[in-house]
Symmetry: C2
Subunit: 436 residues, 2 copies
């Protein structure tokens, strides 16, 4: 900590979240000073378009700069807060800051999930703090509990809803019976989906968060490339209706699991995909754009964390929480626990992960069809939990829910079913999660 | 940190929680060592009855002692874990440990709520860590988020279910229509209630937890003496039926609020009492012996934390989480953020707190009664939100739900109603929480 009395903060980015950070630093100044033990002083804000921010007037003009790297390298900066996002130039800024001993608070899930190792190594090199609570599930305190509260326990599973946009869309599909496209249009009109919603609806955003959660939960490095990912664009109104018929709701889930088999080394799997979960599961009640994460640990049991997963103010709350922590550490000359990745567990590929499938088939409505279909399941070693058949004249809808089997076996089963003469169409395939 | 390579742990108490702590220290040893950076070594376990524990065989005999104070004072002890409970001798042990620079991890809610100041002062004197996640809501990571994650935000309200025994009893009363006594008997038979259930059913346990939560949430000192407290022994089957009739459930709530009125200094109120909350409130779905706490913060919005609130393993998980944190701090020569009580807010007495009442009256069934009753409310400045009347021959049941008013005004209203000739009996009074 340098000789000045305040902790000097550089802010990179001043969009929705950055603006809220600036506002909270100003309106909560007295409380923040008391909690840190010294004032948090905003010494510079780097933005892309100076003229626009000068006009907006949120940040005093003399603090604005379009030279982010210059700001990061300033000798008097103690902490760098980054709310720009994306891989570059954020990675260069943050590694520069960390290596020179500046603490970093970031909301950048994409960077952490793609190349967290580089950031953690830079933090270790500079003996600096790297905090990123805002990168997952907005204001919900989730990373700190995983990183600290539960580190005396053994986490076995993390299952959550970590993308508000897709949760809003799926909730609307259930409420109105609308198809995906229609529900997306509504979400866009109401501001729940961005103009380009790809990162949300294709599951990229959730996959990045899943990688971050899994790394912390299992003390091992997981990158976004390790995460199996399916978005919700293929979820149909028929899938939603089918889920309701069996007392379920469709959610885009992230699931991170520890696998402990007696005859092989421990491994983890991490996946993001739509799934049916029973209405009685606590995650089923998480509506609109809210987020919630279930954590299962050997001693603690099942814990749930719930709250707003996005938005300027909630995300800024998480940033400020981290900022107070790193500022206190600087004043104390201390550093928080660094990355814990000692476990170095194998990533289990999706084909080896055991899940359950819900399969809807359009079949000829005649004798022997069910027997033929059942044979295909048996041939692949997949056990059937429930069958429902609805005659519709010449054809019938056959709905099958399986017991757990490897994803590879289930995929091969679906493939083989599609090739049957009596199967007109595989109308829908979706995984089923929650207690069997 | 002394020269030895391990972090040396003394355990005070070896009941349900202590036994689980010993078990986890053994079974998770490799993981704990990796996370701490050195082994956690159990160097002594203080118990009251040596012979019983020698026979039980959970703890190696050479570690057992009945001299807790001697164990606390041993030079080679780094961390003292206390799971005995009660005010004395726990306070003497822990202040001795803290003043001599030993870190303390405790689950002792009674001591923290009655005289936390003494412990915090001893921790400051000895420059030692004082952690107590296990004191509230078992394994649910709640104190650390309040103490750290949200300290960049401004918490306005904490509302929670923090006692599993009473939540189990009230859940059963709803499920079966049973009265309090019958439901308590069932809870006792199933092990959800202790042989002497006073601390739970009279709200003392919840009041202690409420004091701890409020202190952390509002950065001010709140002791159990500051907490308004009512237990659930007066809750009747009729109250439960009445709650259901208006779409509510009865829960024993702890409510801690920050009061910001323009014309007076900021204050806080903390209370524990049964209340009706709407079925749509997320706390309404918290069943059996589970705990859940809602935290409302200005920027973060509404967050919920949910999980098992008690039990040996969950509580031990919280103890171990704290133990890893303080052990890491010792190795780093650091100390966590100490008590933050700068706000020094006034405690608002219950009479000044604004709540809503649900009042059931047995009245004469004749003209003019409602007018007379309504007059009493008006005279006390209490506004009525809803009225429901059920004729039953000569008398009638009159149910009134009020808008918000001060608790003093509501009490005075009930008092005046009881004195009316036309009111045969005030059959039930319960507060109503949740959105109006």
């Amino acid at each position: 900590m340098r000789s000045g009395k305040s902790v000097k903060v550089a802010l990179l980015g001043c969009g929705t979240v950055g603006t809220e950070v600036v506002r909270l630093l100003r309106t909560q100044a007295a409380d923040l000073t008391a909690r840190v033990g010294a004032p948090l002083e905003l010494v510079g804000v780097a933005v892309r378009r100076l003229d626009r921010h000068r006009r907006a007037g949120v940040v005093p003009s003399e603090l604005l700069t379009d030279d982010a790297m210059g700001l990061v390298e300033r000798d008097d900066v103690d902490v760098v807060v980054e709310v720009v996002g994306g891989i570059e130039p954020a990675r260069t800024w943050l590694t520069t800051a960390l290596k020179s001993g500046k603490s970093v608070v970031t909301a950048n899930k994409a960077l952490l999930a793609e190349d967290g190792a580089t950031l953690h190594e830079a933090a270790a090199e500079g003996n600096a703090d790297l905090f990123y609570e805002a990168s997952v599930a907005g204001a919900i305190p989730l990373l700190r509990p995983l990183r600290e509260s539960l580190h005396g326990d053994r986490i076995t599973r993390v299952i959550g809803i970590v993308n508000g946009t897709t949760n809003y869309i799926l909730s609307r599909m259930h409420a109105t019976g609308a198809g995906f496209t229609e529900a997306l249009e509504e979400a866009t009109a109401l501001g729940y989906a961005e103009a380009d919603p790809t990162a949300d609806i294709e599951g990229f955003d959730a996959a990045a968060k899943a990688a971050i959660l899994a790394s912390l939960a299992f003390h091992t490095r997981v990158t976004v490339a390790d995460v199996y990912r399916e978005g919700i664009t293929e979820v149909s109104a028929a899938d939603v209706a089918s889920a309701e018929a069996m007392g379920c709701v469709v959610k885009l889930l992230c699931v991170a699991e520890r696998h402990t088999d007696p005859d092989e080394p421990e491994s983890v799997s991490v996946r993001v995909h739509p799934a049916m979960i029973p209405r009685t599961h606590p995650l089923a009640g998480v509506g609109e754009a809210f987020n919630a994460v279930f954590v299962e640990a050997e001693a603690a049991g099942r814990l749930m964390f719930y709250g707003p997963g996005a938005g300027g103010a909630p995300t800024a709350s998480a940033v400020l929480g981290d900022l107070v922590a790193v500022a206190r550490n600087r004043l104390a000359g201390a550093r928080a626990a660094s990355e814990s990745n000692y476990a170095a567990l194998r990533i289990r590929p999706m084909g080896e992960v055991r899940t359950r499938y819900h399969i809807s088939l359009d079949v000829d409505d005649r004798a022997g069809v069910l027997a033929t279909v059942a044979h295909v399941f048996a041939d692949h070693g997949v056990s059937i939990q429930a069958v429902r058949q609805e005659g519709r004249g010449e054809d019938a809808l056959l709905v099958i829910v399986t017991h757990q089997a490897t994803d590879a076996a289930l995929r091969a089963t679906v493939q083989a079913l599609a090739e049957l003469d009596t199967v007109r169409q595989v109308a829908g395939v979706m995984r089923v999660e929650g207690e069997q």
